[in-house]
């Protein structure tokens, strides 16, 4: 795996520890421009930790993260979004006391192109008509599925170059999960590069171009999504087949 010209994100031998607990034990990852990459693995494998580290929310114990061929080590937490790194966190990170529209506008907090922001807002409302219906409602009073849509809409308002999604299907009814994945495909079709962490491994691999499998802090498989789907070991461990 060598970095090519269109490599957006490159993670080299990344290690993360919480005190004495080694949550991530030296992993390598790569995301190319325009790709949708899935990161799957059991509970506690270190997926969320990896994403948080990519966003600068957790400091790595070793290794290197290159975004657009530049180290992210010196970027301050509040400047990641300006570089195009955006995450929809586990549990969505919605601002419950702000209205739906205010939440979406928070995504554009760092931008000052007013006209473009208004355009993007319209685009998000087109993508999520249900969100538009509730633009005045306090985001904290939305249902889980609606909150996930707001979280994704807010992320899009940030104009991400790389969008990190942490378990977008968590706690949602199957039909809403389908809807969310439909939207993920639409967003991908618009050319947004994504790294998708999911418990629902099957759906994630069906949606993604490539995939990584994590097991207690290490990457154990990495391949095209289709290949992982037909890999016997992966099937046994994660696809319930």
């Amino acid at each position: 795996m060598t970095a090519s010209a269109n490599t957006l994100l490159e993670v080299k031998d990344l290690k993360v520890a919480y005190g004495g607990i080694h949550a991530v034990k030296g992993i390598n990852l790569e995301v190319k421009e325009g790709e949708l990459v899935a990161l799957i693995g059991a509970n506690g494998a270190g997926k969320t930790t990896t994403l948080k580290t990519l966003m600068g929310m957790v400091k790595p114990a070793g290794g290197e993260i290159l975004f657009k061929n530049q180290s992210t080590a010196k970027i301050e937490a509040h400047d990641y979004v300006r570089h195009g790194l955006v995450m929809v966190p586990e549990g969505r990170g919605i601002f419950g006391r702000l209205t739906v529209e205010e939440n979406l506008l928070m995504g554009a907090y760092w931008r000052d192109d007013k006209a473009q922001i208004a355009n993007d807002l319209e685009r998000v409302y087109q993508l999520f008509p249900r969100v538009k219906e509730r633009y005045k409602q306090l985001a904290g009073t939305l249902s889980g599925g609606e909150q996930q849509m707001v979280a994704m809409g807010r992320a899009l308002m940030s104009r991400p170059k790389l969008l990190l999604l942490d378990e977008p299907s968590m706690g949602l009814a199957p039909i809403i999960v389908q809807k969310i994945f439909e939207i993920i495909r639409m967003v991908a079709a618009e050319g947004v590069t994504m790294l998708l962490v999911e418990q629902n491994a099957k759906l994630a691999l069906q949606t993604a171009n490539r995939g990584y499998v994590m097991e207690s802090g290490k990457v154990t498989f990495s391949d095209d999504a289709a290949a992982l789907l037909s890999n016997e070991k992966v099937q046994q461990a994660y696809l319930g087949e």
């Binding site: 400047d79 966190p89 990170g93 319209e122 940030s158």
Partner: protein, 389 residues
């Protein structure tokens, strides 16, 4: 964004607001005369109103820190003290040997700016070491800060006499406004305005200014950033909010409101001493914010008026009431007054835990859940099915 504003509704609301504001303006304009007309002790009531206005400013300042940014500050009165002492030190005869007279006339605008600035600096001073703290931890540190400021004021009379210690600073002049000395009666249209009247209008004007700034802040990008930080600091950070600076700004803005109120207080009162700035005062201002409705400007104003005026009303009512009911003085009226006041606060908070006039956010947060989460999920599931194709 523009597409979502219903303009007819907006205009109707505007008209109603204008009418309400008009009535309020007239009432406030004639209030000093009305008080003088209806009460023997009209001036002492007017004084109480002046203080209520100062408390509104303080409560709105604390509301920025506690209500918007969610940072519990138990030492807020320190900024009031800083504003008051700043004005006092720059204007009283006490430091005249050091500060040349020509440098500082008690010019209203200059003084307000300086007081706001100095208090703002103290706000940052308190804010920067406490950036990582929240909730109860922050409360303890701010409490300590408030006490430290007061103790400094109490003791900075040695080795060099700066604050004049427990005696405080006397002979503070009134401010000068457009060439007028507000300490002297001014004739206007054949009516003589005394100091207490002049200050009433001045404080009222400042109060409106502060309300205006508060409202603008709330709807601004910064206002939303404060709420976002309060909700989820990490998520706010990821939105590109420099949480450090934005929090410091909350401390500085809140403190500067307090500083302005303090400077007005010092020049109105004519003297300052440390005992005006006790922990009890901080708690009272916090009570105003919480009891009125944290984060909601009208609520906070209401809270400030009620908490500052009620004890004054009780002072006048309690003795006659006691006489009428029991026929003699049973309990010391001063104690009874505070007892009733305390009970009233407890009852209000029990009946209206979100405050008397909460913002819709607070109301939603504290409202009993009518539907369980699973019911809500079910509803939205059905909605989704309907909308699916």
């Amino acid at each position: 964004m523009t597409s979502t504003i219903n303009s007819a509704e907006f205009r109707a609301n505007n008209l109603k607001t204008t009418l309400v504001l008009g009535v309020i303006a007239v009432v406030l304009a004639i209030l000093p005369w009305a008080l003088g007309h209806f009460f023997e002790s009209g001036n002492s009531w007017l004084r109480a109103v002046d203080f209520a206005l100062l408390y509104i400013m303080l409560a709105l300042g604390l509301n920025i820190v506690v209500g918007y940014a969610g940072l519990l500050d138990l030492g807020y009165i320190a900024f009031y003290a800083v504003g008051a002492y700043t004005f006092a030190l720059l204007n009283s005869p006490h430091l005249q040997a050091v500060i040349p007279e020509w440098l500082f006339q008690p010019n209203f605008f200059v003084m307000m700016l300086i007081a706001a600035f100095v208090a703002g600096v103290f706000g940052v001073l308190l804010g920067s070491p406490t950036l990582k703290l929240r909730g109860d931890y922050l409360a303890i540190v701010t409490l300590g800060f408030g006490e430290i400021i007061r103790i400094f004021m109490n003791n900075l009379d040695r080795p060099i006499n700066i604050t004049n210690g427990p005696q405080g600073i006397n002979n503070i002049p009134a401010v000068q406004f457009a060439g007028y000395d507000l300490g002297r009666p001014i004739e206007f249209l054949g009516v003589s305005f005394e100091k207490i009247h002049l200050y009433y209008y001045l404080i009222l004007a400042m109060c409106f200014f502060i309300i205006f700034v508060s409202m603008r802040l709330q709807r601004s990008r910064i206002g939303r950033a404060w709420v976002a930080i309060r909700e989820d600091e990490i998520a706010a950070n990821a939105m590109g909010i420099n949480t450090r600076n934005v929090k410091l700004l909350a401390f500085a803005m809140g403190a500067s409101f307090g500083g302005v109120a303090g400077a007005l207080f010092a020049s109105f009162q004519g003297f300052v001493s440390p005992e005006s700035f006790t922990l009890m005062e901080s708690i009272m201002v916090l009570a105003m914010v919480v009891l009125g409705g944290m984060g909601n400007i009208p609520g906070v104003i209401l809270g400030a008026v009620i908490v500052s005026i009620t004890p004054e009303i009780l002072r006048d009512v309690i003795n006659p009431l006691q006489q009428a009911l029991v026929g003699r003085k049973v309990v010391d009226p001063e104690n009874l007054r505070m007892l009733i006041f305390g009970l009233a606060m407890i009852v209000i908070m029990l009946v209206r835990p979100a405050g008397l006039w909460p913002s819709k956010q607070r109301r939603a947060e504290l409202a009993p859940k009518t539907k369980t989460i699973s019911q809500q999920e079910n509803d939205s599931l059905q909605d989704a099915e309907r909308n699916h194709d």
